[in-house]
Symmetry: C2
Subunit: 341 residues, 2 copies
């Protein structure tokens, strides 16, 4: 396979390269692309220096699979060009996800959607949505999912390197402050509001991940992605989803507190039996982002009855937003494409 | 008024003393009590050194109001003794909250419950529950609250000084680690699991605040307190409450992502109008623990329609768990008692 990683120098691109190696993906030829800023630098691949090509000017022919993580604006332009040159594009941005001619795929959940790829583009879901899908699908098959109420705990690496640096810089600035000050009046120590996030993220939580959508809903784009993408991936067009997307001072690992309503009764015990056997899922007494980061599964636990919804269950899910939430799922889609050939 | 602060050297006791001064509570005589460990030390009150008395051995006569924050075990023994000696006890522990003869009071919400105090004891609600009550009450009056789905973001100071120190110590140990390590595999740097919390709290979130109750429910005591205390304070015995209580790496400021179901329709606009006028509540575009810490109001924002519940609304609340969540509410109860005299 001739494989391209587009956005190869970014955070997700870095993890994509690592995961291709980890999983021994059959790469015969590798090419790395990035914006003009990073073009010309070299990346070591299996002991050899590979020059990063400028995605604005390079020729794209002779590529079988392009793993793309270069942002929505870039992807809207680049994905069709890679596809026209013969590649199947697996795109990590939001650009193509809701296009009816683009499959939106989590291999454990809806691999069958890869059977037809009209535009030569497959979309990788949003990192928060992704972490929940392998958990929700088998429960849906068992009892018929009707509604999802989600509150998220999203890591800063979901906002790229800038998000990571913003948290790290703010933590650094508070490190010599008296803990009593931090305890009794968190605002008493000076901290930048931040650029990447709409409020200080160190020692804080911000109930606004993404940006408010200008459609009167007062929801953020993250909250709408969770609804729209869940409906498409789970193939439940009528699914009710009410989400509150919150950024937390965690470097990597997205979590969701989920309360679920079903058509039919589903006991916590039965749900746990189902989840213990589910692909890509690992039951845990205490799923946390620290447990999940650097690993592949979606960890799920705290499964229990929820009286506030009909046939209700509450549970908590944590997954690595850079791996399963982005790079790993993209490589898993590539693996599924190979099998389907 | 002859006022006692019991647990005067603790975190909440410290804030109680500060708030008595801030609000010019009419203190004619002050006495401080603590366990034998702290007894004999002195605390400065209005320029005078006051010796801390041993609550196990001291005489309790001549006290009008005892603000007690010394933990449930201690309170079960001490509160009746202070009450028998003539004081009205305002107790911050969980010991008396569900006793039908003990009013559980948030003055903005159910001040009328103070009219009869059969045991001489008034209970102060749990810090997480408290932050939500001034927001839920006026919405309930407007539309009839039926169900509450809550995911919490609870600060470490809710677990006392030991919780604060555990987060501070863990942050200190990671401060020289490479951010890339923290980002790509949070478990790669060594950190104690911790003593006060069931997992590492630095750079993590822990979906288990409190302890699992041994009643088959798989819920934590924090999750059950939120249900039981909300029903009692709001006077809605049938209220459905499904909560997931999560500890986050924030020093002070508890937050809740709430999704609410009502009997009657309630638009976000109408809800915001109501909340703008509600006592103890402040509307905010972005309520965060950092905004709330060191201040009195319960901040509420992100009010919007929630399709997953009938007549549903989602919103986010942040409040200072040491002030409104504990010490401030206790002093407000004392103020209400004075007015009712």
């Amino acid at each position: 396979m001739r494989v391209a990683v587009v956005g190869a120098t970014g955070q997700v691109g870095t993890v994509m390269r690592a995961i291709l190696l980890e999983r021994n993906f059959p790469v015969d030829e590798i090419r790395f692309f990035a914006s003009s800023r990073s073009a010309g630098s070299t990346i070591v691949w299996k002991g050899q220096a590979v020059e990063v090509e400028d995605s604005a000017t390079a020729a794209f022919s002779g590529i079988d699979i392009a793993l793309m993580s270069s942002g929505a604006t870039s992807s809207r332009e680049l994905a069709p060009r890679f596809a026209a040159a013969g590649a199947t594009v697996i795109d990590n941005s939001s650009a193509w996800r809701m296009d009816p001619e683009v499959p939106l795929v989590v291999p454990e959940v809806n691999e069958h959607a890869l059977i037809t790829i009209p535009k030569g583009i497959v979309a990788n879901p949003n990192c928060t949505t992704m972490v929940a899908m392998p958990v929700l699908k088998p429960l849906h098959l068992a009892a018929g999912l009707v509604s999802v109420i989600a509150a998220t705990y999203q890591a800063v690496s979901g906002s790229g390197r800038e998000g990571v640096n913003e948290l790290a810089d703010q933590l650094e600035k508070t490190r010599d402050h008296d803990v009593r000050v931090l305890t009794f009046d968190g605002r008493a120590f000076p901290l930048d509001q931040g650029v990447k996030f709409p409020a200080t993220i160190a020692h804080n939580v911000i109930p606004l991940a993404g940006a408010i959508v200008d459609d009167g809903s007062l929801e953020t784009n993250e909250e709408q992605k969770l609804r729209d993408e869940s409906r498409k991936i789970l193939e439940i067009p009528s699914l009710h989803v009410s989400a509150t997307c919150v950024r937390v001072p965690v470097f990597t690992g997205h979590s969701l507190a989920l309360t679920l309503g079903f058509e039919r009764p589903l006991t916590p015990e039965h749900a746990m039996e189902i989840l213990a056997k589910a692909r890509g899922v690992e039951l845990s007494d205490l799923p946390t982002p620290r447990l999940a980061s650097g690993t592949d599964p979606c960890y799920v636990g705290r499964v229990r009855h929820a009286e506030a919804l009909e046939n209700g269950l509450s549970l908590f899910v944590s997954g690595d937003n850079l791996r399963k939430g982005a790079a790993l799922n993209a490589v898993q889609i590539a693996e599924a494409l190979l099998e389907l050939r």
